[in-house]
């Protein structure tokens, strides 16, 4: 069986035409949050922390979570987007605090290091790579390299180690999370002007396995490959995470069968009885010292007018440009990489047994980013069927064109595409596949192409409008990761309540 699903892009497309019915209902609420992704949910939590409970969160899908949502079948839950959170930086007290609240951090040890719940850390073995016809441990190509490759890998990782700990004159890390904490050091910021590929060449790297590995990493975090992504972002992937929250300097990650939907679910408790789902906000404007937001109820096919004192737009900028006037000029610089996820139910996953099935299974030089074994974080001995989720990002120079093509192809096409990509490592996977669910994310994540992260467009898009309409979404950070969305939500509420701002 094959199914083709996706975010509600058709409803979103109605924003162009705006043929929505006139509002027949009115809601008054002091604080309105538009968008129930991690940024919106995190804002809800921060309101709660500030003792504010009169807010409403409006979401167009039938569930909260945005890109941190999940699906479920008979055998397992599986992610429909984000699927892991790397161990937080030790400096990131807000995040540590949240993880402690949710019992992901159980306690702090004598030396002050957080103790993470064993069940939520990726079980071993966590990663394997299919390289030169064999599975090997880890995602860095190792067995079968030339000596020159090994030397380049070593040199590359040394450079990244330096970047990871280096600070600018302002005593800030050159690369930090959330991104706005990073140093203003001019030389480092100049890296945002070139592509990662350019940086690779400028630094006299030539190794093909290294190139492929970096390409994989860039796509993994940004959707964009080494050719198109900013070098600052590319290096941030390696240097932003300080690996300093465990004594062993772990680079492990936290993960769950349902992916980051688990984190979204923790946040959802702050929106109990305060959310409107299946509601597409199609217009937001300031009028008479109030904000008027109009939303279309996709279930009852009616519209509602929401009158608020302040609004947080936790929706992406490509949407906001249709809701609020005068945003198109800078929004054109926001590019989003489409993603495809495919969840397969397989009777078995035969391969050549060179290294056992891991949480993350990457195939060298494949089209996609490999697959995650969704039942990896279970303690059972055996599984009737295995459930895996395959990830593919449409890295290209023209993302708009790519997106159009994405929606043109049918499910049979995508199914074959996914299976063919997996066949390299699992030649008879087609025979063992029982079910394929393809999930398309047309505007998957913001793409930090050169010039975007420290560019004007982002800056302008972040400006609040008359201290009434505020913006918080991971696309305003420039890189799409949980931590950024989480802090966007916190910072925007602090800005509203305390009048504090963070600059970039």
């Amino acid at each position: 069986m094959i199914r083709l699903l996706g975010t509600k892009h058709l409803l979103g497309h109605r924003l162009w035409i705006k043929d929505f019915p006139k509002p027949t209902k009115q809601i008054q609420i002091p604080y309105l949050i538009v968008g129930g992704g991690i940024s919106g949910l995190s804002a809800a939590r921060q309101f709660h922390k500030k003792g504010i409970s009169d807010f409403l969160i409006v979401e167009l899908e039938n569930h909260l979570g945005g890109n941190s949502s999940n699906g479920e079948n008979k055998y397992s839950k599986y992610p429909l987007g984000a699927h892991y959170l790397p161990l937080p930086n030790f400096q990131d007290k807000e995040l540590l605090q949240f993880l402690e609240e949710e019992k992901i951090i159980l306690k702090y040890d004598e030396k002050g290091f957080p103790v993470f719940d064993e069940l939520q850390l990726t079980f071993a073995p966590d990663e394997r790579l299919f390289y030169k016809n064999n599975w090997q441990e880890g995602v860095v190509p190792k067995e079968g390299n030339l000596i020159s490759d090994d030397l380049e890998f070593e040199k590359f990782f040394k450079k990244m180690d330096v970047f990871r700990t280096a600070k600018g004159e302002d005593q800030k890390y050159l690369f930090d999370i959330p991104l706005h904490l990073s140093s203003k050091d001019e030389k480092t910021r100049a890296l945002d002007k070139i592509t990662m590929k350019q940086w690779f060449t400028d630094n006299h790297f030539t190794s093909e396995p290294l190139y492929n590995y970096i390409d994989y990493c860039c796509k993994d975090d940004f959707g964009l490959g080494i050719e198109y992504v900013s070098a600052w972002a590319g290096i941030h992937y390696f240097a932003g995470r300080k690996q300093d929250s465990t004594p062993e300097k772990h680079d492990s990650v936290l993960t769950w069968p349902e992916g980051n939907s688990c984190l979204a679910n923790h946040l959802k408790k702050y929106t109990k009885d305060k959310s409107l789902k299946n509601h597409l906000v199609y217009e937001v404007k300031v009028e008479n010292n109030k904000v008027i937001a109009k939303a279309f109820d996709d279930v009852n096919k009616t519209s509602v007018e929401i009158i608020a004192n302040k609004v947080i737009m936790a929706s992406p900028q490509f949407v906001n440009q249709y809701l609020i006037n005068d945003r198109k000029a800078f929004t054109k610089d926001f590019h989003y990489t489409p993603w495809l996820l495919a969840t397969l139910v397989v009777n078995d996953l035969f391969d050549n047994f060179s290294f056992p099935l891991s949480w993350d299974n990457v195939i060298y030089d494949a089209k996609g980013l490999g697959y995650v074994y969704d039942q990896h974080q279970t303690v059972n001995q055996v599984q009737d069927k295995k459930v895996i989720t395959y990830y593919y990002s449409f890295s290209s120079a023209d993302l708009k064109k790519t997106r159009k093509e994405l929606y043109k192809k049918d499910k049979e096409y995508w199914k074959q595409f996914v299976l063919n990509d997996l066949k390299v490592a699992h030649p008879d996977i087609e025979e063992y596949t029982e079910d394929v669910e393809v999930f398309l994310l047309g505007h998957g994540m913001i793409s930090p192409a050169p010039g975007f992260i420290f560019g004007e467009a982002k800056k302008q898009a972040k400006q609040n409008i008359q201290n009434k309409i505020y913006f918080a979404h991971s696309d305003l950070s420039g890189i799409s990761i949980f931590e950024e969305a989480f802090h966007q939500g916190i910072n925007v509420v602090n800005e509203i309540v305390d009048g504090t701002t963070v600059d970039s």
């Binding site: 064993e118 069940l119 850390l121 990726t122 079980f123 071993a124 073995p125 966590d126 492990s252 056992p356 303690v379 059972n380 001995q381 055996v382």
Partner: protein
């Protein structure tokens, strides 16, 4: 004419060479199989060579009764040798279960192949005697015969067995044998009578051998049980494992996925040591939990205490517990323990079960398979022991089989150290079980109200354990390992230790 004749002679001599090679191969196959399956290789090889040579003699003797159609007979025998020799190992493998007839059939094969090969040489001499000078003939025939023998005996151990396996080797040479016959059918078309009939027979035999050759792995898998070197009395594949029970003299052995689980001769040492220390130390033994141990042998020991009111056994494999509830040989071993009214058997995943369970126990006996893969490794993780702690009463005792401190000291102490993170009192001990070697356990007490040297109760009639725990918890230097990490789900370091240590031995 001269040229053509040369070819004729050469062909037949080449056939001799092949027959000799093949004949010796069949003999070696028989010898190897016999010593594999029956043991005592000196005796087996010596008998087989003797019988083979003797039957060749008989063959030679009988060759004089063949006078007509010599060439046809020669080719026919060639086919027959290929067929019988080639198939011999298949038949022997399949028949191994019935040991009695096995020896008979083995020697019958050796005899028949020897006999046929013995027929060939005189026959050939007869064919060629009018065409070649006698002196040349004899010397040529025997030269080829012996070169073939040399080739076979060198190739057999160095190339053939490692590459093709025993069954593959004999089938392969059967095919070579028959293909010579096929070649002769074509090349000596004019000299042979009814060459097409002969050819059909030869091709049929070749195809038959080929089919067996292609499926030789399946046949081998089917008869795999016969390689335990003991008499198999029961085999069963459950969804989780392959259970094999063997019998040899008074000893029964149970194998799970080819790993020895117990030997009836000495399992009492293992199970008494597993059960009685914990049972004697615990504050109370009313409610006892067994995880794994689907053979019911630990339960048998537990039931020796009158105060036990309830035993819960959780084992994933229903096939296993069913077998040990119903098979009369096996219920004899566990004294029908799994059918005892005090005992509840639950077939489910122990980890999941423990997470959801609400009841609390006085004693927990944990007897899982060794941590040889990442799935099993989870059952030895910190989180697993923390989970177990939640279903234990205060001052409950828990014991875990923790593989061999001698063969796998890192693995052994890794589990011990992991348990130490969870329970207030932890110790380790070991016993010698002849069929396993030095074997060990980690024991822990969930509180401070009792100690490892407390004996709160004793059972009668033990053969091995004497309730002196301090006789078992001393470890010599060769069983100690330091600098060990704790086994967590996110590092599964134990599986790595285990693989490193047992891998070294294999």
């Amino acid at each position: 004419m001269g040229k053509k004749f040369l070819r004729f002679e050469f062909l037949l001599l080449f056939a001799v060479f092949i027959i000799a090679t093949c004949g010796l191969i069949y003999e070696l196959v028989a010898g190897t199989l016999a010593s594999y399956l029956l043991g005592d290789s000196v005796k087996q090889f010596s008998f087989i060579i003797g019988v083979y040579l003797f039957s060749m003699g008989i063959g030679s003797f009988f060759s004089k009764f063949f006078n007509k159609n010599l060439l046809n007979t020669f080719v026919e025998i060639e086919i027959l040798v290929g067929l019988i020799g080639g198939l011999s190992s298949v038949v022997l493998f399949l028949l191994f279960e019935s040991v009695g007839s096995f020896q008979f059939i083995l020697y019958l094969f050796v005899f028949v192949t020897g006999f046929l090969v013995g027929l060939e040489i005189p026959l050939l001499m007869n064919i060629l005697k009018d065409r070649v000078e006698f002196k040349d003939l004899v010397s040529n025939v025997f030269t080829f015969d012996y070169i073939g023998a040399l080739l076979a005996s060198i190739l057999f151990p160095l190339v053939l067995v490692p590459k093709l396996g025993i069954m593959g080797t004999s089938l392969f040479f059967g095919m070579i044998n028959v293909s010579i016959a096929i070649a002769l059918c074509f090349l000596l078309k004019r000299e042979l009578k009814k060459p097409s009939l002969l050819r059909a027979k030869a091709i049929f035999s070749f195809v038959l051998l080929l089919v067996f050759f292609i499926f030789s792995n399946d046949i081998l898998a089917y008869s795999e049980g016969k390689l335990y070197g003991e008499n198999i009395i029961y085999t069963n594949s459950t969804p989780y494992q392959r259970i094999v029970l063997t019998h040899n003299k008074s000893d029964y052995r149970l194998y799970l996925n080819n790993n020895l689980q117990f030997s009836s001769a000495d399992e009492y040492r293992y199970h008494e040591a597993l059960v009685h220390p914990a049972m004697s130390m615990a504050k109370s033994v009313e409610n006892v939990l067994v995880l794994g141990g689907g053979d019911g042998l630990a339960v048998r020991e537990i039931l020796k205490y009158k105060d036990v009111k309830k035993v819960t056994l959780v084992d994933l494999d229903e096939g296993m517990t069913k077998l040990f509830k119903t098979n009369s040989v096996l219920t004899n071993f566990n004294q029908n323990s799994l059918n005892n009214p005090k005992v509840t058997v639950i077939n489910t995943d122990a980890y999941i079960w423990a997470k959801n369970n609400k009841e609390k126990y006085d004693v927990a006996i944990i007897d899982f398979p060794d941590p040889s893969n990442y799935s099993l490794g989870k059952l030895y993780s910190l989180n697993f022991y923390q989970t177990i702690k939640t279903i234990l009463k205060p001052n409950a005792a828990v014991v875990i089989q923790t593989t061999s401190p001698y063969f796998a000291p890192k693995s052994f102490w890794c589990i011990n150290k992991t348990v130490m993170q969870v329970f207030p009192q932890v110790d380790a001990y070991h016993v010698y079980v002849p069929s396993f070697g030095e074997w060990g356990y980690t024991i822990a007490i969930n509180g401070f109200r009792t100690t490892f040297n407390t004996v709160n109760r004793k059972a009668d009639g033990l053969k091995f354990y004497n309730y002196q725990f301090d006789r078992f918890n001393y470890f010599t230097n060769d069983m100690i390992s330091n600098q060990i990490e704790i086994n967590r789900l996110d590092n599964q370091i134990l599986v790595r230790y285990f693989d490193e240590e047992w891998g070294k031995l294999q």
